[in-house]
Assembly symmetry: C2
Amino acid sequence: MSREKLVVIGGDAAAMTAASQVRRGRTDMEIVAFEKGNYVSYAACGIPYYVGGLIDGLDKLLIRTPEEFQKRQDIEARVRQEVVHILPNEAKVVVRDLESSREYEEPYDHLLIATGARAVRPALPGIDSQDVFGMTSLDDAQALRERLEREKPKHAVVVGSGYIGLEMAEALMRWDLDVSIVGRAPQLLRSLDPDMGALVSGALADEGVHLYLGEAVTAFEETAGRVSAVVTEKRTLPADLVVMGMGFRPNTDLAREAGLPLGLKDAVKVDDHMKTTLERVWAAGDCVETVQLVTGRPFWASLATVASKQGRVAGTNIAGGDASFMGTSGTVILRAGPIEIAHTGLSEADLSCDEIPFVSAKVDTRTLARYYPGSEPMSVKLIAERGAGRLLGGQIVGGGGAAMRINVLATALQTRMTIDEIARLDLAYSPAFSSVWDPLLLAARQLCDRC
Amino acid sequence: MSREKLVVIGGDAAAMTAASQVRRGRTDMEIVAFEKGNYVSYAACGIPYYVGGLIDGLDKLLIRTPEEFQKRQDIEARVRQEVVHILPNEAKVVVRDLESSREYEEPYDHLLIATGARAVRPALPGIDSQDVFGMTSLDDAQALRERLEREKPKHAVVVGSGYIGLEMAEALMRWDLDVSIVGRAPQLLRSLDPDMGALVSGALADEGVHLYLGEAVTAFEETAGRVSAVVTEKRTLPADLVVMGMGFRPNTDLAREAGLPLGLKDAVKVDDHMKTTLERVWAAGDCVETVQLVTGRPFWASLATVASKQGRVAGTNIAGGDASFMGTSGTVILRAGPIEIAHTGLSEADLSCDEIPFVSAKVDTRTLARYYPGSEPMSVKLIAERGAGRLLGGQIVGGGGAAMRINVLATALQTRMTIDEIARLDLAYSPAFSSVWDPLLLAARQLCDRC
């Protein structure tokens, strides 16, 4: 009798977390993961720090190799094997070996689709140049870092004003380049409200990053086979290299072809157990639509935290357990130059779209007691439901120690706390860590007065 | 017609927060605060950092002077005026002017008792020496700092192994002294469980602090009118100066004499509106008994956060509003040498006393992604109700960025979250701030398996 078999499409956070979780629950099951790239289970979020030189070797970003998966967990992870079709009626996938181009079929008892997301890469003139770098794989990262070390380029342009764009701009600044960010959106980090986004723009401009916002890139100009400039709707910027950071979209061509219903941004629809509409077919990670915890509405974001949690839930259920994923408040944290940025829940723009009545308050205060060395400016913005006072979202921009306070707000969102309850929180105080009234308490108090 | 009048006994956090809050609600009321010391509204928690040289001038710790209270808020703060009796039947207090020793009566319509806490100072031989420093007033702080600057002492002994003792030991280490901590308790920071306390002891020992725990001080030996050694039950330690950090007790002689019922550690009993049993007499801050939020049982701690919140509640109510203080989970945070420490809620020892069945889990992990520069060890211990899984307490010891995570646990305690709910939290991740599975999530997950 052959072993029951799980096939996983993908080899990163959701895929390998699920595989590991299945193995914890089921020592008997055969587990095979197909990854079209060269690596499985790598820390994609660490790429900007490798490019920036904060991390020496690319190997530091490899969490676990296929050999380790095999040896420690009896999980077979096959790299450079691309699943090209799902045949749900036959309970099989068709796999292409990217070395030999040979195709073969692999039957499954359970299938997990964890195909992730792909970077947005518009078909602009010049985009296929060797000087235009994507930022999704370790290979991309290595190529960019080698370029920085070898050619000492002078002008870099980052296309995209979201968090990947910011992290990449910071990485490039470490190489003493002249760095520009070009973005179609009118501000950096669109998930922040404009007043908070302006704090980020101000800090980056102080660092010497040139910002060209509200203008789209139209072409990459080439001279003698190399990129020499980025052309926008309004200007031409000199560029020796370009980094694309225009965000991601769910990678769901396979799922669509297999007949799975797609939702927001064409992400695969799943239930709270990560089950698709097809029998014994599951999906998790960046390729699925999830739920915004605050509103209960469909939501999509490319977040390692969400992918890992969903992978764990899928794995538990595939192994015969019972776990659910309730959604995400979309908590994001990042550092850009000298400042920390975080947000969770909904922004004023989100709420205006959803037509939910809200009030908001922004306080400009400090990370630590004013007299304590290293105390830096910090702004907190809280948004609550008008009347009922339930917290709907929070945004933080500030110096060292500011951003991790977002976790209190993420906790408050999950437990549906009101602003009044937040104002009472017994948050920690010592001059080396905070002020007696933590900035979150001050913001909540101010918002109470408006609710 | 004379103005309605509030008399406040005390001039620090609870007292002046209440006075300010009354003024916000009632522009007409006369407000007089009597402070027996030289200063009002100072940052007592900043004293160790002034002593340690991290803060230049004592003036940095003065939040607001009597002149500023008068000018900005029409609040009269009289320093060096000690209230020596409360006469509730006559609605008066008797005040002694410490300059002239003259006594006078002051009538009140409302009275707020905010007499704070006093340092424990046992009647040991030699304790009145000029070389044995208390650590409760700015005058103490100034005297100690001058001594450190002028005499360059070699050996310092801190008596007391609680958080004041630790902060003072750290401050003294900055002066390149040989520093010892002597404490009667068998471990540092008794509010931590022994396994977590051991991490703190280890880190301090690595820094070169000598720890003599589980032994009481019996005398301060003097030679030619100066302290030369600290004598314990087990040994004699050379000492040029001694800092007392044996903790605090509620300062409630006045309240007792006035007939107010006292509770835990002789703290004044109040209701959730900070009202005492006497008509128009309120009390707030370190002098009152409060409620442990987790158990609902009586609790006392000397915490600036609690005093400030209680002062605000008392002030709102005195002004005719309606506010309540629900209790505290006893959140504490501090830095000792290179490590950060925080706890909230109940420890295993607390729970054993209260006979509440519990389970606990401790995880040893890291502050940041393992590959990110500056990632340091971090341990989290969570304690939950056996069966139901409700969080009862949390403790954190670790490197930079570890301790402020306690605020998530304080929030979880207030909202009565279960370990299972904590394990689902959408906490922030970026390699520069955390690991994909935040240490809190890992600890909660591990505890789920035991519940």
